[in-house]
Structure formats: C-alpha cells, structure tokens
C-alpha cells in the first residue's frame, strides 16, 4: 500500500522551477531516502508534503487520501522535522513535548512523553531549557516532537544535522527500528549519503527539481553493475575503443573522466580491449557506493 503518492508535482517561484513534474510513491514500512544537492528541490517537496507550501500543480495523496481535501486528518498521522531544529529557547525539552502532545487528538500520557525522551536520549536533560542545548540536542528534541504522537508516517529532513558520530548512529538505529519493528513509513533526506545507504530501502534522487533516479537501493547499487572509473594516458583513444565495442552501452560520463556502469565480469574484458588497442592504462577504479552513484547521476544531468 502506498503511504505517499505524488503525481506530477510542481512548484514554481516566479521563473524558478523549484520542483518540476515530480512523481513518486512510498510504500508502508519503507525507509525512503530522498536525495539531492542543495537547492535541488528536496525541502520544497517535503514542505509540499506537509502542506507548508502550496503546489503550483500536481497532486499529493497520503494514506490514499488527497492532502488538500483531508489535510487535518492526514496530519494527525504524520510527524516531521524540517531542516533546522527550531524550537522555543525559553521552554524545556519536556514542555516542548507536552505542548505538541496537546495538539494531537490521541491521548498522550506523561509516560509516552518520557518514553520518547528516552528514545532520543534526552531524558536526563528533560527539565533544561532549550537555550542551553547544543545543535545535536535540539535535533534530538526535534525528532522527539516528530515521534511523540506515534505517527504512521515520519518525514525527516536532514535529521542527522549537528549530531556527533554516536548521535548519527543512534538516530540511524532508531529510524531502522521504527520501520522494521513498528512498521512505520519513514521518508528521510540527508546529505550524509553513507547514512542513507545504511538505512534506506528505497531511494530517489532529484536534481534541479526533477527526478533523476529512483528504486530499491540494492538494485541501484547492483554489485554486478560496478561503476568503473577508467584512467588512461589517452582518454580520446580510450573513448574510441569503448564506443566502437560492446562497452558503449555502459558509458556514463565523458566529461571529467571515463566512467562506465558495467557488470563486474566484463571488467577484465574492458581491460584487455584497452590494452590490445594500445591505450596506456593507468588504472581501473571500481566504485559502488551511493555517493558515487549520486555524483554520477547528478553530474550527468548538469
């Protein structure tokens, strides 16, 4: 079942197309990694999903219902943090949760609030005012606010901002357990691609407001289709060899080096072809991280 269904979503700010005809869906229980460079339209999309920004065109359905027509009922089941953890400096951590708990129709007990504080590791600072908190602690509290009403859909925009390595690991484990153990759907955007790689089951990459890649992370990072950076003494000659042979279909980029997305068993054949053609082969570097994939697909569309 699709928890999020977005169709042809666009947002224009004057001449700027921040989001341009974006369509995607997120299924229940998935951790959906939402990736894109700064200014790619991630936050605008997330804000549209939370009805903070009015779309120029397109439709958003959450839990199978139109967001526009059922906003209030839908938002009962959504918890979110958006970019920075902006909070009230004069209130304590616990007061924040108590205030936001009041805004939900579900009954949220004091024990629920304490459990949420324990979950994000803030129980021992629950009575401290937020003005004394570090960025990482504010981020944890922001996540606690998103979770306090036990929502079915959690939207986290840059949840690991400002966290130390232990904090990043804690939040990653929390997100994974929310999806695996509690069946919650999580849409998470982050600049830390290695984190997304570890926690997401599905990813989407947008660039300049448009989708450039989407799919299960295992499929996109298929080990049988390595990304190979070929370093030679003569790139022009290497390209000729690649384009004239059976490797042309694998070519990803020609601008800042030669990159191919190629099955691992074909790499020796590629080596042999280049050597046979007399190309001075400096090295063949294989990569298969989300970061490399991200850089490839976003630079391809530049």
């Amino acid at each position: 079942m699709s928890v999020i269904q977005v169709n042809q979503l666009s947002k224009h700010f004057g001449a700027l197309k921040a989001v341009d005809g974006l369509s995607f869906s997120v299924n229940q229980g998935e951790v959906f990694g939402f990736l894109g460079q700064n200014g790619s339209g991630k936050s605008t999309t997330i804000r549209m999903l939370l009805s903070l920004i009015h779309p120029t065109s397109g439709s958003i359905e959450l839990f199978g219902k139109s967001l526009e027509a059922n906003r209030t009922a839908i938002l009962e089941e959504v918890g979110a943090i958006i970019e920075r953890p902006d909070l009230y400096p004069y209130l304590t951590a616990k007061e924040h949760l108590q205030l936001f708990a009041k805004l939900r129709s579900k009954k949220i007990t004091n024990a629920n609030i304490d459990n949420t504080l324990v979950k994000v590791g803030l129980m021992d600072r629950s009575k401290d005012k937020v003005q004394s908190f570090s960025l990482g602690m504010k981020q944890r509290l922001g996540i606690a606010i998103a979770l306090v009403h036990n929502p079915s859909l959690i939207i986290l925009d840059e949840p690991t901002n400002g966290l130390d390595p232990q904090g990043i690991s804690d939040i990653r484990n929390l997100i994974q357990s929310l999806a695996r153990e509690e069946g919650k759907t999580v849409l998470v955007s982050s600049h830390l691609l290695s984190e997304i790689e570890q926690m997401a089951t599905q990813i989407m990459i947008i660039h300049k407001g448009q989708k450039v890649a989407e799919g299960p992370i295992q499929k996109l990072l298929d080990p049988t289709k390595m990304i190979v950076h070929v370093k030679t003494t003569n790139d022009a000659q290497s390209l000729q060899v690649i384009l004239s042979g059976s490797f042309s279909n694998y070519l990803l980029q020609r601008k800042d080096g030669i990159y191919l997305r190629i099955p691992d068993y074909e790499i020796p054949l590629l080596n042999a072809s280049l050597i046979n053609a007399g190309v001075g082969l400096v090295g063949v570097e294989t990569r298969n991280s989300l970061e490399d994939y991200f850089l490839q697909v976003t630079s391809n569309t530049n």
Binding site: L50, S51, L52, F100, K102, L103, I145
Partner: protein, 291 residues
C-alpha cells in the same frame, strides 16, 4: 482551538518579554502616584488656580478617581505600544524563530492557528488592561481615598458625584479594551505579512503614530478620512466622563452626554478589528512557509 489558545497563552506568559509591559505600567503608575502623594496639594492648587475666584470646592479634589483619570490620560496613549510588542510578534516571531513550520504541520488549519493566536493575544491585552485598571484605579482609591470627581475640561468643568463614578470607569475600561484590541489586530495583521520580529512591531507603532497625527490635525483635507480612522475613536473612553446637565447646569446623575459618539466609536473599532483579523487569516492561508 482550545488547545491552540492554551498553548499560545502558555508561550506568551513563559516569555520574559511579556513582563516588560506589566513592569513598565507598574513603574509608571507608581512613580506618578508617589509624586502626587508627595506633592499632590501643589498640583491640585495648580489645577484650580484659574477657577479659585469663581468656585469654591469642598472636599478632596485629589482623590483616587481623579488620579485614575490623570493616569489613563497619560497611559492609554502609550499602552498600545506595549500591546504591539506582543501582538505584532505572534506570527512573525514564530516565522523568524522557525517554529511556525512546526505549528503548521499539526492537525489544525491555518485559520484555526491565526484565530487561536489572536484570541491568546487578545487575552494578554485584556490582562494587561486589568493590571492597568487595578493599579490606576483600585490602588489609587486605596492610597488617595475617594470623593466626587472634579474634572477640568478645556472650557468647562465637570463634577461627578462619588457614587456616580465607578461604573463610568468600568465603561471606560471596557471601551479601552476595544481600542487596545484594535491595536492588537493591527499588530497581528503586520505580523502576518512579515517574517521578522522587529518589522511588524515598528510597523504597528508607526501606523499608530501616523494615524494619530492625522486624527489630531485640523486640516480640511484629512477631515474626510478622520471619522474612519481607528485612532480618531481610540480615546473616546473620555466620553464616559461627560455628563448631561439640567437647565440649572447641574449634573444629571447616571447620564452620559454623548452616548451616540461612544456607540459610533465602538462600531468603527469593531469593524477595524474584523477587517484586520480577516486580512491576517487570508494572508496567512495563502502564504508559503519558507522560513
């Protein structure tokens, strides 16, 4: 809606800034009361110097009722500025802090948020006015005692019997609440337009100063708009202290000279409140939250 109002009130009264207005009013009133307690007789003599030859006044001229009238004349001009400090920050302050996006992702409509915030800001305004009334009226009555209210107007004097005064103050404070709620709604409108804290506060104060000047200038060009400006009507609480007189120029107990003027002012102020709040709702609903 009830949840929004209680949360907004909680936030208002947890902020240190809120108490600046309460402190400022208390300090001003106490300074004036202290001054009049210490040197009140010479002040009373100064007030009476022009009429001492034609009128003999028995009793306590400088009593709690007169002190309250003096205080209201001085303070009700400035209290709107203190109200603006909170009201003009209600939406823009949250936008500036970044918390508006947290609020607007809760299961309440933006109309509910704006109305809830306006009601909370209005409650703050009324509490501030009650504080003002307590200090200016009841503390003055306690410190200076009570007697008939003797008021010097520009070309006549008004003498109101002691037992005919208190209800007039109740009326004056109710009227003042409409004046201050108009300022609250104007601050609110400014707050819905901007995304920073300072702009709407300064904007509200500037608008009050600007329209007050227009209201008080006796230039024919502005006479057309004057009746429609809220600032023209804000000080009409004083009408509660103008009393009808009989053919012997004696005050008629329990009367107000110009009830129609009070009614007109209340209607104009109420229309301004409705206009400003409606505009705030429309602007906030259409706004993209980019902060």
């Amino acid at each position: 809606m009830k949840a929004i109002i209680s949360i907004e009130l909680y936030k208002i009264f947890r902020r240190p800034r809120t108490y600046i207005a309460f402190g400022a009013i208390a300090a001003l009133i106490m300074v004036i009361q202290l001054g009049l307690k210490m040197d009140g007789q010479s002040y009373a003599a100064f007030l009476m110097k022009d009429i001492n030859d034609t009128l003999t006044v028995d009793g306590k001229v400088l009593n709690g009722y007169l002190i309250c009238y003096i205080l209201l004349q001085l303070l009700l001009v400035h209290v709107p500025l203190l109200v603006a400090l909170i009201a003009a920050d209600m939406i823009s302050g949250e936008a500036n802090l970044g918390t508006l996006r947290l609020l607007f992702t809760t299961p309440y409509s933006r109309t509910q948020w704006v109305m809830g915030k306006f009601i909370a800001a209005s409650i703050y305004t009324i509490v501030l006015l009650i504080w003002l009334a307590f200090l200016a009226l009841f503390v003055s009555m306690w410190v200076f005692g009570t007697d008939d209210l003797f008021l010097m107007k520009s070309n006549y004097v008004v003498l109101i019997q002691e037992k005919d005064v208190l209800w007039r103050y109740v009326g004056a404070f109710v009227f003042a609440s409409f004046s201050l709620l108009t300022v609250t709604s104007l601050g609110f409108l400014m707050s819905s337009i901007s995304n920073n804290s300072i702009g709407p506060i300064v904007g509200t104060m500037s608008a009050i100063v600007f329209f007050t000047i227009l209201s008080t200038l006796n230039i024919p060009l502005f006479s057309v708009v004057k009746p429609y400006l809220f600032t023209t009507h804000m000080n009409n609480w004083k009408e509660f202290f103008d009393i009808k007189v009989n053919e012997n120029n004696e005050a008629i107990y329990g009367t107000i000279l110009n009830v129609a003027k009070i009614k007109t002012s209340l209607i104009v102020l109420t229309l301004h409140i409705i206009l400003f709040v409606t505009a705030s709702v429309i602007i906030t609903k259409r706004k993209d939250i980019l902060s």
